[in-house]
């Protein structure tokens, strides 16, 4: 083994040679569009610890986005007052104006910021709004558009409401029998269809293709009652959230 020289000058020269060689190998092998090691990885900002640009929104980001959209004057105006609720908050990858920010290079991920799509709904006037929120220090709303109530998706809360409307209908109670009050609307993580003891109600947004039927445009649910895996299959229960009524249609063959 050769001991390092005590003369600092040759050591510097060797150091330079070594750096030169490393750089040469790197530049020869490095693909054009692949990241190089010239710059260190971008550090996460204090607001978004360890969250990369294309990661799903964190619960904290969702809260901030919902708050920013709910507080925005343009959103409020579109929703026409009342007490609108947040229907969903979802991740959105918005392309930057400067395309170079969307390239993974120089050891850095893309630089597009964090954005959320927020949809709100006011059931009092059947109005919805969609907002794009920029999640940064100011959490500002970048874009707003109006949504007809018809275009606002139904939610878990709507399903709960539809279920309570249905249970006030004697025909529905008769369909469900003695355990009518045991049916529950379950959150996704609670659903276990293989559990024979689980008694649950599920729902689908119901639309007819007949313009004369209120469910052609209004917010209607087809409720599905099940015990374990077995759905109640004798009839269909349809709830109109706008008219707040329920009807039972006997099974068609």
């Amino acid at each position: 083994m050769t001991l390092p020289s005590r003369d600092p000058a040759p050591r510097r020269r060797r150091g330079k040679r070594f750096t030169l060689l490393a750089c040469l190998f790197t530049s020869l092998l490095c693909p054009v569009d692949a990241p190089s090691q010239r710059r260190p990885p971008r550090r996460p900002t204090p607001q978004q610890p360890q969250t990369l640009p294309l990661d799903p929104l964190t619960p904290e980001e969702k809260e901030r986005a919902a708050r920013a959209a709910s507080d925005d004057a343009r959103v409020k105006e579109l929703l026409g007052g009342g007490t609108p609720r947040v229907v969903y908050v979802e991740f959105l990858a918005v392309k930057p104006d400067d395309e170079s920010r969307a390239r993974e290079r120089d050891g850095s991920p893309i630089r597009i910021g964090r954005h959320a799509e927020v949809v709100l709904y006011n059931s009092e006037n059947d109005r919805g709004a969609r907002a794009v929120v920029v999640l940064d220090r100011r959490d500002s709303v970048r874009q707003v558009e109006r949504l007809d109530g018809d275009r606002v998706p139904l939610t878990f809360a709507d399903l709960q409401e539809a279920h309570s409307i249905a249970l006030r209908n004697p025909e529905v109670r008769s369909l469900l029998g003695a355990d009518a009050d045991r049916f529950r609307v379950l959150r996704q993580e609670q659903i276990r269809r293989g559990d024979e003891s689980q008694i649950a109600v599920e729902g689908l947004r119901y639309r007819t293709t007949d313009p004369a039927d209120p469910c052609y445009r209004q917010r209607c649910f087809l409720l599905l009652f099940r015990r374990g895996r077995a759905y109640v299959n004798d009839a269909r229960t349809i709830v109109n959230l706008n008219a707040r009524n329920a009807r039972v249609e006997r099974r068609r063959r």
């Binding site: 092998l29 090691q37 969307a102 087809l222 068609r252």
Partner: protein, 376 residues
């Protein structure tokens, strides 16, 4: 001797730098980041880098996908975003569901039965949400006594649409091909269990070859010059936002070109959108009247149901940032095999029916991929 040691050290350092740079450049964290090189045994030839998310309603969304055709080539972005933009489900008696845009459906947590490690499966996400499978895909090519078995990495997750499950599957092959499929399964609609119906997924494919802009879409059209024996292939450009028909006898495909991306021989690289279908479903909503749509990129235009509105201003899609949409379909005629006659507490299930498309690279490679180099 000393020089040899320095060179070796430099090589080791360079390799370490590469590993660090690649790891740090990803734009999503694990488990949302999937990187797969091919072949899985032997020296690397091709590589995919993918980011994914599960989103309510859309299910498994690909939030970026890059492909590298050789270890010395640059990564080429294929997707900025790829997702299901709608699943339209009309029943023959006249009612219908929009299973993506009408309800905030979640997704089914997976388990090791869904995604067995023994079959190349890895569960991803906290649910777990997604199954990653690395698997043999059969013959990639055969030439007399020579043959090559291809491989692929498949990601799939399941939308829980009440009685129905939709399996949203994305396959990234070793030869740069992407296959998108949706499989409809689980239980037929209670109260209408024996009623025939259709499941029509519409994919939104934001394909960005070599950057956002500079992409153009051409319509691949085959014509037999009957009654003569010759045939002609053309691919006219799509100039403005529009909907397009799939014509079976024309083998209609959409071709996405980038104005600058070429392979080594100097040919324009593109991806071809090729339907995998056995029918053409048409219903009353306008969105079901076309098989393909081409729109200019708008970040919030995510829902296929609004396509007639999205194209109403007929923006230019030539040499632009474009998004392709493809409408597939499954025709489900319930059968006794969908039910159990033995036990009313175990009502039976509809087996998976698939529909989808293939995105195939064309002039992306410089020659036959996955072919022995010594033969060149």
């Amino acid at each position: 001797m000393r020089t040899h040691r320095v060179v070796s050290l430099a090589l080791i350092l360079a390799a370490a730098f590469f590993a660090a740079a690649e790891a740090s450049a990803q734009s999503c964290s694990r488990p949302y980041f999937v990187e797969q090189s091919f072949p899985t045994g032997g020296p690397e030839q091709t590589r995919w880098r993918i980011c994914w998310q599960m989103q309510p309603r859309h299910g498994l969304v690909i939030t970026s996908a890059h492909f590298r055709k050789s270890p010395t080539s640059p990564f080429v972005r294929v997707f900025w975003d790829a997702r299901i933009g709608e699943i339209y489900v009309p029943y023959h008696s006249g009612f219908a569901f929009y299973d993506v845009s009408d309800f905030t459906f979640g997704w089914v947590a997976l388990n090791s039965n869904d995604c067995p490690a023994a079959k190349g499966g890895t569960l991803l996400g906290g649910g777990p949400d997604v199954c990653k499978e690395v698997r043999d895909r059969g013959l990639a090519w055969k030439d007399d006594t020579d043959a090559y078995r291809g491989e692929e990495v498949v990601l799939w997750g399941t939308i829980d649409a009440a009685n129905y499950n939709y399996i949203v599957e994305w396959t990234f092959r070793d030869d740069g091909v992407v296959v998108g499929r949706v499989g409809a399964t689980a239980q037929n609609l209670p109260g209408s269990q024996t009623e025939a119906h259709m499941h029509g997924p519409i994919w939104r494919l934001d394909i960005d070859l070599d950057g956002f802009t500079g992409d153009s879409v051409h319509v691949g059209t085959h014509k037999e010059n009957l009654p003569g024996p010759t045939a002609t292939d053309t691919d006219p450009v799509v100039n403005v936002e529009t909907g397009l028909q799939w014509v079976d006898e024309q083998f209609t495909t959409l071709h996405v070109h980038d104005s600058a991306l070429k392979n080594k021989p100097g040919n324009r690289s593109m991806y071809m959108l090729m339907p995998l279908r056995w029918g053409k479903q048409r219903h009353s909503p306008d969105v079901t009247k076309q098989d393909f749509w081409v729109t200019r990129y708008r970040g919030t235009e995510l829902f296929a149901r609004e396509l007639p509105t999205y194209i109403s201003n007929a923006e230019s899609v030539s040499n632009a940032d474009v998004v392709l949409w493809y409408y597939g379909g499954v025709h489900h005629i319930p059968r006794d095999e969908d039910f159990s006659s033995a036990d009313p507490q175990w009502p039976g299930v509809a087996h998976v029916m698939w529909t989808g498309f293939m995105l195939k690279p064309h002039n992306l490679f410089d020659g036959t991929p996955l072919y022995p180099q010594k033969r060149r």
